[in-house]
């Protein structure tokens, strides 16, 4: 192969990897290395995933029988509240940005770290502090408001540890804001020479978009939750009709954050999948600019659709009509991405490895979630299915089928880079397929349940729904096995004697693959200089290829 080198930088010298750079606790807990902080996040979000999954297991077991024999009514309400709160704020939102993003954003743009390394560490400590407070809530009585904290239930009537939970979520918001700020400044100010905006990997574009949401949406949640806490403690009354307030105002402010929060979970996933697809296809993405700007469009329009959560809330029907229209509009950029990925596969040179399987699984589940989302944006349909299992299924397709699948795909794709080890590919493929099947068995029946009229957050349910609930619970068991498998073989790969990964095991383009696996302390030896377009695979310019 006589191709020029894709990136020009000084030849590799023997450098200590970031993992070998100190083994003391101090070298981990006081590190400012974005790669180590990413690993700190990986361990912490895995822990919170287990907490949230435990709550989910309780829910699914309890729903095996219509009377709910396992939990009491209050116990069930606490289980789904904790499941939602932990999964949303302590797993899904930090998952991709704070683990994969933290690790990859600087490397992908050729920087040696994030712009504010100490701020990055501070973000993690803030996250841990809020997480500990949440754990205190879990053991100290729980909370039964749901993750949505609707007033006046949360501000007056609920009897759990509402204020502690609110404070925990409030604190975690600062972690999010600081991460977003760090990413934006890094992407603007630390790009390597030659890394122009048109050469940014799509992963970076989507993280840029998500950072905008981090910075601009999270403070609104913070002040809203603060007002709820103040209402509960001293009766401020902004959201309490008896005190002159309006409960719908809470919903407006809450969803102004929480709808974009859905895009917080999905946008990084879209970025991951763009990387996975192009690397597996060995081909430049079809319509780079459409895919890149679609991320920004989603971030911006995503702020204008929150009212679609309130079609039956008593919101003005005219406002509903406006929000419905905007919600349909936001589907366009998402659809663009799916079409572009599909065409990228055309005349590609596709390696069918685990990351691609996860990516294809993601696309299928994301499309199903997105289209049911479009149904929910249709006013007359939404009136029937909102607040039912149809909605539950829809957002699990987006958040779990979408985000979590992409997170797993990304973790498999970059695992060799992060750890310098190769995992068992066969097991990984089995896990990818198992997760896809398990997920659909768990959540597809919930679409049917919802259309048939099973409301969400029901502990006791009419017996005619039992068969579908049992199927769903069995699927959940399968899904749990699917999620547990990577934990086993990924950790297995770390044990002494695990296979070592080369610098670029996938033959992928992208700066992160030009440095060693795992990368050295400052990511690169010397300053990399970018001279090519992103995804500049040989196939983009038909030349003969002799590598496999």
């Amino acid at each position: 192969m006589t191709d020029e080198p894709r990136f020009e930088h000084p030849p590799e010298e023997a450098a200590t990897s970031y993992l070998a750079d100190g083994y003391s606790l101090r070298s981990w807990f006081l590190t400012t290395d974005h790669k180590r902080i990413a690993l700190l996040y990986l361990v912490s979000i895995t822990f919170f995933f287990l907490v949230g999954a435990g709550a989910a297991a309780l829910i699914r077991l309890d729903l095996l029988t219509p009377q709910g024999d396992l939990l009491s009514n209050d116990g069930y309400n606490r289980a789904f509240s904790i499941h939602g709160i932990v999964m949303v704020w302590f797993f899904l939102i930090p998952a991709i940005p704070n683990v994969l993003g933290n690790f990859l954003v600087p490397i992908m743009i050729g920087a040696r770290d994030l712009a504010f390394p100490r701020l990055n560490l501070l973000s993690w400590y803030i996250y841990i502090l809020s997480g500990l407070l949440t754990l205190y809530v879990v053991v100290g009585g729980g909370v039964d408001t749901g993750w949505t904290f609707y007033t006046p239930l949360s501000s007056v009537y609920a009897n759990g540890a509402v204020v502690a939970t609110i404070v925990a979520v409030f604190i975690s918001g600062f972690s999010t804001i600081l991460t977003g700020l760090n990413f934006i400044v890094t992407i603007h100010k630390l790009r390597a020479p030659g890394m122009t905006w048109s050469r940014l990997p799509l992963f970076i574009w989507s993280h840029y978009a998500v950072s905008i949401i981090f910075v601009l949406a999270t403070p609104v949640l913070a002040i809203t939750l603060l007002l709820v806490a103040a209402e509960r403690l001293i009766g401020i009354g902004v959201f309490d009709p008896r005190l002159g307030g309006d409960p719908l105002l809470f919903q407006h402010l809450f969803w102004f954050y929480s709808h974009p929060a859905v895009y917080i979970m999905v946008l990084p996933a879209l970025g991951v999948v763009s990387e996975l697809i192009t690397a597996a296809a060995h081909k430049r993405i079809f319509g780079y600019w459409f895919v890149a700007f679609a991320s920004i469009a989603i971030a911006v329009i995503g702020f204008m659709v929150w009212g679609h959560h309130m079609f039956v809330s008593g919101q003005s029907v005219y406002a509903s009509a406006v929000f419905s229209f905007l919600s349909i509009a936001v589907a366009v950029p998402s659809a663009i991405k799916v079409y572009n990925w599909t065409v990228t596969l055309y005349k590609a040179d596709i390696a069918i490895d685990a990351p691609l399987l996860f990516a294809l699984g993601f696309i299928g589940l994301f499309v199903a979630g997105g289209l049911t989302g479009l149904m929910l944006a249709m006013l007359a349909i939404d009136v029937h299915v909102t607040d039912t299992y149809f909605v539950v299924a829809h957002f699990h397709y987006i958040m779990v089928g979408g985000s979590v699948t992409a997170f797993f795909g990304g973790l498999h794709f970059w695992w060799p880079k992060i750890t310098g080890r190769l995992y068992n590919e066969t097991l990984a493929r089995i896990a990818a397929i198992l997760i896809l099947i398990g997920f659909n068995i768990t959540f597809f029946p919930q679409f049917m349940l919802g259309y048939e009229g099973m409301p969400r957050r029901y502990h006791v349910y009419p017996p005619e729904f039992q068969v579908l609930h049992v199927i769903s619970s069995m699927g959940a068991a399968l899904l749990a096995i699917g999620y547990a498998m990577p934990a086993v073989y990924l950790i297995w790969s770390l044990l002494p004697g695990g296979r070592r990964a080369p610098a670029n095991p996938w033959g992928a383009s992208g700066l992160e693959w030009t440095t060693s696996s795992p990368p050295p302390q400052h990511n690169f030896i010397g300053q990399p200089v970018v001279v090519r377009q992103p995804y500049d695979y040989p196939l983009a310019h038909p030349v003969s290829r002799d590598d496999g």
């Binding site: 712009a115 804001i177 100010k189 630390l190 401020i236 902004v238």
Partner: protein, 208 residues
Amino acid sequence: MAEEERFAPFADAARARDADRLGMLIFLASEIMLFGGIFAAALALRLEHGPDYAAAAGHLKLWLGTANTAILLTSSLMAALAVEAARAGAPRRAARALLAALLLGCAFLAVKGVEYAGEYREGLMPGTATAHFDGPAQTLFMNLYFVGTGLHAVHVTIGILLMAMAALSQRARQDRNAMLIGNVALYWHLVDVVWLFLYPTLYLAGVR
């Protein structure tokens, strides 16, 4: 430490300064959104209970609020002058201007304190308020006033502490790029801008 390590992860000082300032501006954008929640609540209350809103706002001390606006604007001017002085290489003038900004900030808090004390005496504070108002919407306005100005006062206090820090640091005063002083001043100006909107939202709404 090698020269290139000093600004790590940046290549040089100018880029590091650029990044610091951009980071500050982004942080301020998120602060704007934080206060946005309060303003949205005021907007909703005004649209739902217009007459009550105006009636309750009439209880506020318009002249103290106006005086505070002037104080804060002047304080902002002082902060801007401090940046100007530091850039011109006049550390003592910078320190004096910062001190003036800081003292004016304290004056703002003092006036606010007088206002709160008056409102407490008149029984307008949350919890003591019901007797003075016709209906819950008016009480709610008063509560919102306390939350909004209280949150703002917290920001003023933080700003004062930051300015004290900048004024005391010799390195900050002598920095010809006025990095620390510049960023603290940015924060202070934003606290000012928030007040510029709180003033018509709360005080002017009550003028008949």
